[in-house]
Symmetry: none
Subunit: 192 residues, 4 copies
DNA sequence: CATGAATGAGGGTTCATTCAT
DNA sequence: CATGAATGAACCCTCATTCAT
């Protein structure tokens, strides 16, 4: 494993075990099995490290969502909603500890830029998908789409931060969010 | 204004102007016009101060929501949904800077406990309200209710943190969330 | 002794014993018998400390020279030259270690500003004095005066840095510089 | 250009553009277009590099002064004084940035040894020259000579460090120093 | 002989907290 | 009960130097 890779992984590990408040460059370096100096050879400062870790994570997320959206072009909108919600939640659950760690770290630094960029990628992909629904066209698709994604991201975050396991394990969150989106979309359908 | 009051206000002010990263006890004391020593007479440590500020803010929020819920007992559910969403968003918009400041500070410290407590108060009030809707009864009200509140809190936070002013100023967020909740509730109605 | 005083003294001591390259804020604080934190309560950073120490020293020097110049208003110019040279050199010899330490430290930081300010104070005082010589008037006094002071400051520094004790102990430097200035001034005299 | 040459030049360049405080071995190597490792193949440590650069510069200076002194054997002493002063100042002005950079760097490291050695070479050459003046013999030549060279070196340094351009551009410094030396030497002449 | 990633001691600086006044 | 100077552990970051390739 490359040094950079080790540092990335160590950052996540420290974030998970110690929390963002106790994340020090020394500790990260130690956990990565390298010296602080090495860390600073690859990242100009602590912020940059944070930034990079978040970017990497969010980029992965965005890519997966984009892929899902592409894969569901032309499907019925209910399937689209389910695919979107499921993909997003599954990714978050997959490495639950990482998800929680990054949610907590988000406020520490200026990650707003990355978050915004990724949000827009996801929004674009989603809107493109819904525009091709086989069984409906929508009024105000732009607004509706933005709403759904804010709801999706915000709600999932809330559920993770409150650690509401019961909503996550049995798919309650997924089912209900999908349902909510379907009824919402139905109301936005253009009468045939 | 009491000393404690001054300290509370100063904390918020520093949070707004300097951000949570630059909030130091000395700075808070200065802005409050008291000495650090005095600050420590009222709060055993920085965490406690943070905690208190958040508690006060969230308690106010919870109380307002509870009042709204009580006031809408027996109304049609659409009105309930609108009242809930409107009250929550209005409070957040009212002192937008404070809202954003506290969202950002949330991760810094362990506010999870307070958040959880307040969430449950709000959920209870909301569920009690919806149980009295004049025009419907709902399947699975507990789940539906929890979902709506997670969506409400999560989405609003997301919108504030992304600073999506366009959704806030013209009431787009309010209208759409209300609509979403109405269609969602409609789907949960018990057939008459 | 006040904390600030102790820090000033400690800075000089460290400068003398360890040299400017090994002057660390921690070491200064230790030697002063206070904590680093205290040091930073009085000086915003290391540079400021350096600056303050130099300013204090050079201000004293300038004041002494100014006093001497005032005291010799109306004297014959040879006495003036002797007074100027003697005062300057004596002050430097008085605390020889401090003198050497500060010469060495001068390049470390931006002391140029203070040096320039003090140089100008001294030049002004000196020129005012020579303008009142009882036994001569001078062509180009401004130029002649600036030359003498550059020579005085530069030469003394050179002698200290080269540690040419033999020139300092028996007054050789003083005698010769005075002589040099007298012959130089004589050449600038306006023929009666 | 040899590697060593490149490193020398790079050191000077970094000194000029970044100052002695920001001179790092890595930066020097970069600017020289070689690796740090290579730098350490030629210089055992940073001090040695500094040392070498200074030695090279001062050796050149000493050689030029020696040459001038030899060339003026048997001349009248006024010509000698002028030649000495002019040569020294011209060399310093020739690459003014280098001169200033090295003056500033001088305190950083232990260059005292080299400076002393070069000073003595120059003093010897100068004394030998003045001993052959065609128009005078001097009392105490050793002392007079040492004085003049301390004055010359010290004053020039002072003028450069204070950046008194007006004294350098129109030759004021040169003229006045020469004049000062001539009157000083005249006073030391052995009566015929 | 060149390279440059890796090292890690050490420097400047901050800030929550205490306690003598 | 108020004050604010003093504390010092801990943080971020730098850079001279080494050594495996």
């Amino acid at each position: 494993m490359s040094t950079v890779e080790a540092i990335f992984e160590a950052t996540i590990q420290v974030l998970i075990s110690d929390g963002p408040g106790d994340l020090t460059t020394t500790r990260v370096a130690e956990r990565a099995g390298v010296s602080v100096g090495s860390l600073y050879q690859y990242f100009p400062n602590k912020q940059a490290l944070f930034h990079a870790v978040n970017e990497r994570y969010l980029t992965m997320l965005a890519e997966r969502v984009e892929a899902t959206c592409k894969a569901h072009c032309g499907s019925p909108y209910a399937e689209m909603a389910d695919a979107l919600v499921s993909t997003y939640i599954e990714m978050k659950i997959e490495r639950r500890d990482v998800t929680i760690a990054l949610y907590r770290a988000a406020a520490e630094v200026d990650v707003a830029g990355i978050v915004e960029a990724m949000s827009q990628r996801i929004e674009a992909a989603s809107q493109a998908m819904f525009a091709t629904a086989s069984d409906a066209e929508f009024n105000n698709l732009a607004t509706v789409n933005v709403m759904m994604l804010n709801v999706l991201c915000g709600t999932v975050r809330n559920v993770f931060e409150r650690d509401m396991s019961e909503l996550l394990i049995d798919g309650g969150l997924r089912t209900q969010l999908t349902l909510m989106f379907c009824t919402y979309l139905a109301a936005a359908k253009i009468a045939a």
